[in-house]
Each structure stands twice: as C-alpha cells, then as structure tokens.
Assembly symmetry: D2
C-alpha cells in the first residue's frame, strides 16, 4: 500500500499511515519545524508518513479569513520539506488549473470534500499522474465515492486514496459513519480517517467553524479499530494561534502519545 | 426587485419571479421551443421571467453522464434566447475561469450549491458585474449564506440572489427547511426556492440521482406561502428523455397550471 | 371531516380546523379564559375548533420540570370547558391505563410523538371509541404512520387524525418535511401541522427545550398552502411565564391575526 | 462495575461485559439453548455476562408483527435461565405497571429507546431496586441522557446503565455517534453499545425494519476501541427464522469469534 509513493517509508511495518501537518503553510520556519518533529516521531514509531499542508485556503466561511501566504511561496516550502526530509507531501487543490501547478511541487493532490463531485477537477488531478486523495463530501455516502474513484481511474490514474471527514448532521454538527470505511475499502483503495475535520462544528453564527479537539483520539481509535488504512491529523505547536482551523488541530506535543495508543489498537486487529 | 436586470418584465405585477428552463442546453431547437413556451405563459400570467439552462454539467455523480453539447455552442444558444426573446438568462459556472466567459453571453451567473463556499469562484462571478445567484449548499445553514452574500458584495457587486435547494437529510434524501427563507431574506437579497433540485434523492447506488417530481407543486406552494421572492423550476417537454435530471423536471405542459395555482397563494399573502 | 365530533362547529366553512390551547392545564381560571378567547376568535373566523390542554406532562427532559396540577383536577377542567363552551377537547395520554380514564372527560385522545409506535397505547386509545390523534414520531417517516393508522383501525376505530411535529435534524433542531402532509393524507385521515412543537430546539444542555416562536406563522403558512387539514397551536396569554413549553407558545393576543392570514391562504388553494 | 449484580461473573477480568440473547423469548427450549451456548463462550473468554430476552415486543412497526408468547410464560423462562445458569437477566418494559411484574423475574430492567423520556416509567423501574438500563433515544443527544440518569437516581436507585443504539439519520438509517460514549460515561455510569439495533434501517415501506448484520463487528470494534463498558448483541442460532429482528441478529455460531476479536482490542486500550 502506497508503494507508488517513492519517498514513503515504513510501509512494511504493518502500521496505518499518517497524513499530518499544519492546516495551512503559514511560513517556512514553522512548517519545517512541524515536519521535523512529526518525522522524528513517525520514524521512531515506524509509521509511513506524508507531510500535509494547504498552500491556499479557498473555501473559508468568511471572505476575511486567512487564505495563505502566496501560492508559489507555500508550494516551494512543501517542495523543500519533501526534498530535505525525504518525505512525500500532500496539498489540496480547488480548480482544475491548479492541478499541474501543485503537481510540480508535491506528491499527492488532495480534492476537498466540497469538490469531490467536480469531474473536471478530479480529471485534472488524475492527469498529473500524482496520487489523488479525494475527501468524501459531507453530503455523500461512502457508496457514492465509488464514482469519484472511477473518474480518476478512467483518466488513467490508479493511485487513488479516499478520506472520510464526517457527514452533515443537522446544521452545526458532523458525525462519522464508521460503516463507510469498509465500504470504501471495497473499492480497492486505501481509506483514511480525517480526525481533524470530522470534528468540525460548521455553520457557527460567527462564520468561524468550531470544533472538539478533545475527541481526536476517540475518532482515531474507532477508525483504527475498524481497519482504517491511514489517519489524517492536522497538528500544530500552538493551535490556539494557528492561522486557520485552530479549533480542531492536535497539539504537536500530544502527537506521539496519541499515535502510540493507536498503534496498540492497530496491532490488536492484525 | 431585480430591476437591475434590463430585460426583466412584469416586475410591477407583485408576482414572484421565475427562473425556468431545461436542466441542460441540449440543442438550439429544443431550447428555443422551451423558452418560447415559458415566455408565452409568463407573459400571460405577468410573471417576471429569467431563462435558465446549464451550458455544462460539471458535477455529475458518474463520469459517464451527459455533460453538454460544447461550452461555446451552448452559451451562444443562451445568448440568442436572451436577444431574440428579450429575456434575461442564467447559467451556472464551476471554476473562476468560466465567469468572464459565461458573462459574455448571459445576465445571471449561478454558483452551484456544492461550490457556494469557493471564495475565488464567488469573487470571479462578482467581478463580471453580472447578477450572481448563489445556491445554498445542502450542508449549509441559511444563516451561513450571509457570508456568501458578503463575499460577492465585498467584491463590489450588490446584485446577489440566494437560492435554496434543500438540506442533506440522511444519505438519500433532502429536506427543505422553510425557516431558512425569511432568514436569507433578512440579508437584503431576493430568495428563490429551487423546486427541482430540492426534490432530489441523492446517493442512489445507480449513480443517477433520483427524484419525486409529483411533489414540485407541494414544494412550491409552501415556498410562495412563506414569501419566497422567486421560484426555480426545471421544465422540459419530455422529461423522461431529457439528457440530465429527467427525474425531477416538470413537464412543460404542466407549467401554466402550476404557476396559476401559485399566483393565487402569492396574492393571498400580499 | 371531523363530523364524528358532536360538538365541532363550522365544519362547512371550508376552513382548516384548529387544535389550540395552553400546553398544560395550569389551573381552572386560566384554562377557561384561554378557551373563551379562542372560541370567540374561531367563532368569528368560522374555524372548527378543538380545545387542547395536557392534563399531565409525562416526558419532560428533566425530572424537576412541571408535570401538572393533578390528573383528575386537570381532566375535570377539560370536561368543564367542553361542557360549558360546547367545544370538543383533546388531551394526551402516555400509558394504556390512562386511556379509559381520560376518555371519560375529553373527546379526542392524543398519542405523543415519542409513543406513536406503542401498540398497546394505540389500541387502548382506539378501544375507548374516542377520536385518536397520533403525533408522528420525530424519528418516523410520514409513510410509516400508515401502520399507526392501521393499528387504531384494526382495533375497530376509524376516527384517526395524524399530526406532524417535525423531524429530528441533528441533535438540537427539528425540520418539518412538508412532503409528508400529502403522504399522510393519502391514508384517508385528516392531517394536522403542529406549529408549536415542530419549532422546538431539543437537547439543550439546560434540559429545557428551546424554541423559535417567531417562526410559528412561517410553519403554519407553508402547512396551509400544501393543504393541511388542521393546525395545532399552543397559545397562552403570557408564554414567558407559562409552566411548560413557554419557549414556543404563541401569544394569545396574536392568534386572531395569525389565523386571519392563514385563512387567506386556505381560500387560495380551494 | 456491575458488582451490584449478584450473579455477574468475571468482573475482575478487565473485559467489557456482554448483554446478549435472542431478541424475543420465543420458547423455553430455544432460550435455554441460546443461554447455555453464550454462557459457555463467555465463561471461556472471561466476559461478564447478562442474558437478554424481551418478554413482549410492544412497539413493532406493524400491528400484525409477533409480540410474544405470553408475558408470564416468557418471564418464567427468563427466571429459570437466571436460576439454573446463575446469570443475571435483563428484559425491557414499556409501561410503569410492568416494572414490578418484570422485576419479580429478572435482574435488570431495560427502558426502550423510544421511551427514555417517560418519567413515570423510569421512576417505576427505579423503584423496583433493580438495575435500570436506559437506551438512548434515537432522537436524543448523549448529553441529554444525563437527565434520564438523574430521574432514576432521584428515585433512589444508583444502579443505572446507559445503552447507545444509534441516532436518527434521515428516515431510513441510523448512525452511531461514538463521541457520545465518553460523554455518557462522564455521568458516572457504565455505557453499552447496542450493536444490533444501531444497525437497523427503520421506516421501510414493508413495515419491517431492515438491517445490515455484516457490520456488527464494525460497530462493536469501534465501540470497544473508544472504551465502551459493555456490548449488547442479539444473537440467535437461526436469525433468518427468528420471530423478530431477524434482520440484525448475529448468528450464534459467530459469537465466539466475534468476541475473541473484540477482546484483543479491549486489551489494547487498557
């Protein structure tokens, strides 16, 4: 699994893999520092690791929210992390024109959940030849993600990952439906649980999405127990002051302990 | 209301306005025929009318679904309808690069529900100076649409319309929340009920969205009763053989009778 | 419709009927005062009217909430209202043993939404020979209410009314699905919209259900427009100080104006 | 935990406990056979065990569904199982009058999910002095179950268990919200995952609730991983021919293997 990613390590450990990093690339120093810390931890725990960072936030609730430090600047940081640390990297794209641009810098292109039905975007991502990680729309069933997988594969790219980030449950809550994980795995692709965004509390009157970060471990434990192939966790050394999604990022200091507990569950199901 | 649309007629009748037409522009003859029929009806009933037709379907469940007859070809048909019949026209766009292109042919740019949070797209649409009709995401509250309105207005365009097309209710159903209509009207914009897509039954295992067209009148009556400013109805002379969304389009032969009933309710609330 | 209720008036007016009164019977004076006021209004507006009052509140969130002034005392007040004003009355029962007791005092037995699947309760209510008004569970589809109707009818009682009070939508909200009204009418029974409880905001951390009373008219307008046979409205001269459900009761002073608007919509659909 | 149950065994094993048995008591022979088999398995695996069987089914969708073999007959079978096998037993009650009756035969009284807000029923169950297992309503949040616990405790009974059986998700589906388990545990009571009913597919047009029994292990694994204290599993030697809830019962032949896998996860989180 994921062997199509040149730089991925520890794939023979039997562990789940990890996509982790800050929500957004806020600057070079902090991104490098986060990457280094996570790489140290995942090396020690033998977890296959992909560095995650958004180069642009394109779908904030409010127009005034932080959207990035500049596309090329952020993408170059992602590239440098991949090169210097020898890890694969992932970032999300929002329109088909971004696919080729982002593909020049990263190893995995991620399709945001709101956009998982946009055929042009899926095809543009597929055609770069990079791995394509499609997030399941909050409004889509696990079963419907079969068609997203097919759109990528029909464009000639078999390297698809699906990520669950919860389902719309009333206006201000999301619920993870763990029945969807084995269902999506039945499409022959790795399935990831996004432990960060599935805890969002959307549609807050403030226009800033809320969260419940104390439940990250709960979401992750259940995912590993039911056989998730990977986890997606946004993490930051100072979530309260992060420029986006601070409400749900895991404090970087808690990452090792969190992963250690999850590995025990992983081993119990093998 | 809608007086910013040059070609709009009957705005002093006190009636709700109507966005109607086929789901997709399938060809020139059929589009012209549908337009002519609807114009005859709305002229007789004194309903302000905007012709609706998608020039491209970009978010079908399945990659193999009908996506259009060619962008320019379809846009030219929309332009011809606007010019020959003297009615404003609306079409939907999916990426920011399409905004200027589509704006050269139509009067209203529509933002699909899945894309209502895409800031770049909203701004690109706003910057054309055309009217922007934003569909409420199935996963968004009415209250959150305030931020979509603000994004358009902050880009210098006050001509915003909001359209409700229902809310995610389990995986395979949508529910219209009529409480949202007055809430969205409180943002100072006209609010439209999409009587077609709010009846969709998404996430069908076939990959083709289902529907309940016999309930179009029910959805519309409730909307008019609570004060909706406009209705969005996809209509076709032969829904069963339409190239997309046949499951929910109103048969064109039923349109006049449907609108006549709704006008009576409209008059009862004035 | 409802002609099986001896005391019902104005059934030939073509109007929707009204079940209204305070949430709970708080005392004789106030109950009589509310009844008199509503009877004056409905007489003037030619609306068939049933006085509503709970003699006991059996499913409050918290054990410490108000549950009643004593069963027999409250039931005697209901009986007196029926007798002195010549109106039919309705109250809700919670266990099968209450059916015969309540039936000695009122004309309509109401089955609370949480209890609409309790076969024993439905049968006990049916066997009294009184009219049975079954509220649709927040967790039930309109279609499933067919089985509730059948349970009552199979017990030998054809006098069934169904009342919609909204559907569970996330933990803290309810949504009315207006598609359900014609569906329930297709079972051959009158269908009522409960404009009070469908606005509840359940599962508040305080243990006291919240509400949105400013939307009562919105809920009712949509219901009348789609053809509801009746409305259920809890009303009180001082909702803020009512002993239960104050959050959603309509101020009694607003009742006439509200009904007058709704009658206009009713006339528009006949 | 559960030490207030005289007959409970294996409580010092560190294992989750199990409530299991057939949906309904269909007859003495089959009930005894199921009990014996489960007791053999749980003895071997050192799982604290409570035998479960309904003596009456009071809330079937349709009036024509199987409701039981006779109350007293079924209760006597439960009593015999408790006495002969030395295991505690649980059955569900539906009206307050049943509490004392059932308490004469079993050790745990279960309050069905639809009825978890019925104060009289909770108090009647509490006053028997038996353990009270309250199922979380499909329409209730985990947080709201605090008030159910308080109702029982205020009636002088501290022996409360809470059981999750999923949340209403659209009309025909339920979703388990695993965030609720730690939340309910914070009320100081054991929390059980009902792996059977949380897989129901309610509101089927046939009037017979559907299910997805192949997902029982998925539901259970996630529950154990997040720390559930107990599991509730309906099991039968021939689910396809069971008299009720056949759609979701685990085949008795699969129970040992299922529990063995879950114990490994349990050990991984201790």
């Amino acid at each position: 699994m994921l062997n199509y990613l040149d730089k991925i390590k520890n794939t023979d450990s039997g562990n789940f893999f990890l996509m982790a990093g800050p929500c957004a690339i806020e600057g070079e120093d902090i991104a490098m520092r986060i990457a280094e810390k996570i790489i140290t931890i995942t090396h020690k725990l033998k977890i296959p690791y992909i560095f995650k960072g958004s180069y642009r936030k394109a779908n904030r609730s409010k127009g005034s929210s932080f959207t990035g430090i500049g596309d090329e600047k952020a993408l170059r940081i992602l590239e440098r992390i991949g090169r210097e640390f020898g890890v694969p990297t992932v970032t999300d794209i929002h329109e088909s024109g971004e696919a080729a641009m982002a593909a020049a810098y990263v190893d995995v292109l991620q399709i945001p959940a709101f956009l998982c039905r946009q055929t042009d975007l899926l095809i543009a991502a597929a055609e770069t030849g990079k791995v394509v990680n499609v997030k399941k729309g909050q409004f889509l069933s696990a079963g419907s993600m079969k068609f997203a997988v097919e759109k990528v594969k029909e464009a000639g790219n078999d390297k698809v990952i699906l990520t669950d980030r919860g389902n719309t449950f009333g206006y201000q809550d999301l619920i993870v439906d763990y029945r969807g994980l084995p269902e999506m795995q039945s499409f022959g692709v790795p399935v990831v649980m996004d432990c960060t965004h599935s805890l969002q509390q959307p549609n807050q009157s403030s226009g800033v999405t809320g969260g419940k970060p104390e439940l990250i471990l709960t979401i992750a434990k259940a995912a590993i127990a039911v056989g998730a192939d990977g986890l997606f966790i946004e993490t930051h050394p100072d979530p309260a002051n992060a420029k986006s999604d601070g409400a749900n990022m895991l404090h970087l200091d808690l990452l090792e302990e969190t992963l250690t507990k999850l590995i025990r569950i992983r081993q119990a199901i093998l």
